[in-house]
Amino acid sequence: MARVFMKGCEAIAEAAVRAGCRFFAGYPITPQNEIPEYFARRLPEVGGSFVQGESEVASINMVYGAASTGTRSMTSSSSCGISLKSEGISYCASARIPMVFANISRGGPGVGSIHPAQQDYFQATKASGNGGFEMLVFAPATVQEAIDMTYKAFDYAQRDRNPVLILCDGVIGTMMEPVVLPEMKTDEEVAALKEANKEWACIGHGKDVKRGWIEPGHWRGQENANIEAAAMYATWEKDVQVEEYMVEDAEIVIAAYGISARTSQSAIDILRKEGIKVGLIRPMTVHPFPYASFEKLDYSKVKAILDVEMSIPAQMVYDVKQAVKDRCPIETCLRSGGEIMSRNAVLAAVRKLNEK
Amino acid sequence: MAKVEIRSESCKSCQYCVKFCPKGVLAVGDKVNAKGYEYVVPVNMDACIGCSICARMCPDAAIEVYK
């Protein structure tokens, strides 16, 4: 298969189009501007519809509308722009509307920094909006993964009738790498996917057919809706994705996702040559979190976990603590506010741990 | 000859139909429906001309008209 050289943001957009995405609405914000720009050129080519919404708020609501017709739909933003979408995402989750969105994350909080960061972990995995709903959240560490995860996200969204989030830091979003693009779904396949949603879609059924009622809140029976959704969330353990790199004999285990994991992996290759037994657990789904990977570590061998994230205060470390419990000390190696994690920082942190 | 049928359970006694009927066919009755409204009843059906103004004004779609 042909390899092409693509930027993360553009690759995400192309993967979405190939997965059958035929509606995108978004608003410019750095570092994800290439996503709406790419869709603006590409969607008309495949008979899809692109709208530059007047704001992130308007955009998520356009997606709520388009997705409720059964059309594969997507929006994207960065950090503070994702905050603006909170209510709309919550509505999609409540109304059980399939849609995919991407956060190309940057420094925060507030307008923060336009440079990459991993400071949206809590927002992404715990509280993308009010009401306690959950989503599958994928965290790519390469442009290829960004493509593969985005492509499959639409299937997950359709399967669960739920929003799915691609949590992609600004480094992966703006870097260029050689990649292989997935097969483009044919027009017939795309039409069939939409047809499969016809029963619940809000497109006009009339009065003698089961109505397409999209209800983002249930006047009578919100609790029942919550119970039903919770049961669906509970099935996601089977969807956990994780990479375990050199953990079999590791004495120090790094926990990292996205670009931090990439940097850590590079550090591990150097440290191993120095004889330091270090490995990496890389959540590829940050929700559901790969607790099992931490469960099966041999804590008689593992003397420390190093949580490497581009977030101060650290966020993923809480899930790591929950996974590890008291079985060994957990240290952190952090950058924040748009400062990129350097390999030297990881090397220094592991070497320091190793001396203890 | 014409007549109206008022669905008493839907009526909220707003009296738009009473006010706008050109022939004085309708009036607030003295019985209440399940919601507690004194629903409107025809008191002068013979005068009805089937103009349907009552049905058009009704916010509760409570009235159907026959001619």
Partner: protein
């Protein structure tokens, strides 16, 4: 005898609505149903309801509908129409939904000339939440968040949405009507039909602003609320066609 006026099939049979006595939400949703019946398009219609008393219609209408986040109905309708152009999409919004929180989405959808129909219910007050001031509350009119009444220096002036949208190039049709008299009820029905026909003919953004009432939060009984429309609301919000391309 034959039936000369039937209940529309667009409202659930045996509906007993939660609207207050005299509330024109019920009148308008009935008229919309009648228009859809007469145009025979109910099986391709989707309504986008705003938040407020307008949202109660979710349970009364027999055809497809969705509830948009507060203020965002025009954006949601944009998404539905762009993704499924065959659907007849209309929004049904109150004054807070359309002109306050949703002002950006409303003006932007109108500016883009989205081929949707907007039914904007203007009763100068927030109903569902208990009578707070709306962008369309009249000067001097009391509201729970303007207990001394709307004062221009503090609260600004009532907003005239038909006239505001009339500043944009794209909109095809803007009309203001009311349901306070039988004649005006018929004009409202005609305007709704025109807005829907415009959409089917691809003419672009159409809006019917309906000067309505809120007996409960106006502190008036239904018949007095009709007088208030006549004497106070209509001088501020004159009825008529503002634009018809």
């Amino acid at each position: 005898m034959e039936k000369v006026y039937s209940r529309t099939t667009g409202i659930c049979k045996d509906m007993v609505s939660g609207f207050c006595p005299g509330c024109m939400h019920g009148t308008v949703i009935k008229l919309i149903g009648e228009v859809l019946d007469e145009m025979n398009v109910m099986d391709k219609t989707a309504a986008v309801l705003g938040i407020g008393c307008c949202g109660l219609n979710m349970e009364y209408m027999t055809y497809d509908n969705t509830t948009a986040p507060h203020g965002r109905a025009c954006a949601v309708a944009t998404g539905i129409k762009r993704a499924n152009p065959d659907t007849l999409v209309y929004t049904y919004q109150g004054d807070g939904d359309f002109a306050s929180i949703g002002l950006g989405e409303s003006v932007s959808a109108a500016n883009r000339g989205e081929n949707i129909s907007v039914i904007f219910i203007n009763n100068g007050i927030y109903g569902m939440t208990g009578g707070q001031m709306a962008p369309t509350t009249l000067l001097g009119m009391k509201a729970s968040t303007a207990p001394k009444g709307r004062i221009a220096e503090e609260h600004g002036y009532p907003m005239h949405m038909c006239e505001i949208l009339n500043q944009l190039t794209a909109p095809a049709y803007l009309e203001r009507t009311s349901c306070n008299t039988p004649a005006n009820v018929m004009k409202t029905k005609k305007a709704i039909r025109k807005a829907f026909e415009n959409q089917l003919n691809g003419k672009g953004f159409s809006m019917v602003e309906i000067v309505s009432n809120c007996p409960t939060n106006w502190g008036l009984d239904p018949l007095d609320s009709l007088k208030f429309i006549e004497e106070k609301m209509l001088p501020e919000y004159p009825l008529g066609v503002i634009r018809d391309k």
